[in-house]
């Protein structure tokens, strides 16, 4: 059975304190992986798509990486506005077969 686990469930950082969020998965026939950001009371917002192991994508203070069994979202020198829940979603067999993780709630304090 396809599964995805995100860790930690919650993370509290001081402004400027870099860290990484983990998304580990067991998905047969993986075709890629998405990262989304979700603010409280809002729907998820697309961040990145990663297609193959070794690929990296960057956007401002965020960098996503992918291996065969996990993906990391690295946050460099975070700011309070980076506070949100970050969701990963590996997919296989078609884009409607996304499997969303439960997310990591990130809180960045000044």
């Amino acid at each position: 059975e396809d599964q995805v686990t995100q860790s930690p469930e919650a993370l509290r950082l001081q402004e400027g304190e870099s860290s990484s969020l983990n998304c580990s998965y067991t998905v047969s026939g993986l075709r890629g992986l998405f990262w989304y950001r979700q603010d409280p009371g809002k729907g998820p917002e697309f961040l990145f798509t990663l297609y193959s192991a070794g690929e990296e994508k960057e956007k401002e203070r965020l960098k996503a990486t992918l291996t065969k069994k996990e993906s990391f979202l690295h946050i460099t020198a975070p700011k309070p506005e980076d506070s949100a829940t970050y969701l990963c979603a590996p997919y296989s067999g078609g884009y409607n077969k996304l499997i969303f993780g439960a997310g990591t709630r990130l809180a960045v304090h000044p």
Binding site: V4, G32, F34, G41, K42, G43, P44, E45, F46, T49, L87, A89, Y91, G94, Y95, N96, L98, I99, F100, G101, A102, G103
Partner: protein
């Protein structure tokens, strides 16, 4: 910018009531989705529509039905609401199957008493 609009942000219904959740997208996207989001469980796909009048069951379709009579509108129907359907419901759309980016609405929080 793509906009996905869900008609109701908050609803409170009683057990056994029929519930309609409506979603409209303004960018002529072919594909539309309904997910529910529960704490600790992530987003789970209820139904997917790849074109007008076309639909496909997701992972948890039981107790739900959908309607897509026009390209821009995708409705989720709870025929007889139950307390275990209390959840956040999220609608999403995408341009076509070969693009992975989903555009989500802001969600409809349903409470069934």
């Amino acid at each position: 910018d793509v906009k996905v609009t869900q008609s109701s942000r908050y609803l409170v219904k009683r057990t056994g009531e029929k519930v309609f959740l409506e979603c409209v997208q303004d960018m002529d996207h072919e594909n539309m989705f309904w997910y529910r989001q529960d704490p600790g469980l992530g987003l789970r796909l209820i139904y997917f529509s790849y074109d007008v009048k076309m639909k496909e069951k997701g992972d948890i379709p039981e107790g739900y039905s959908v309607s897509r009579e026009k390209k821009e509108r995708f409705s989720l129907i709870l025929e007889s609401a139950s307390t275990n359907q209390t959840s956040m419901y999220l609608c999403a759309s995408r341009r076509q199957p070969n693009t992975g980016e989903l555009f989500f609405g802001e969600g409809s929080r349903l409470t069934v008493l």
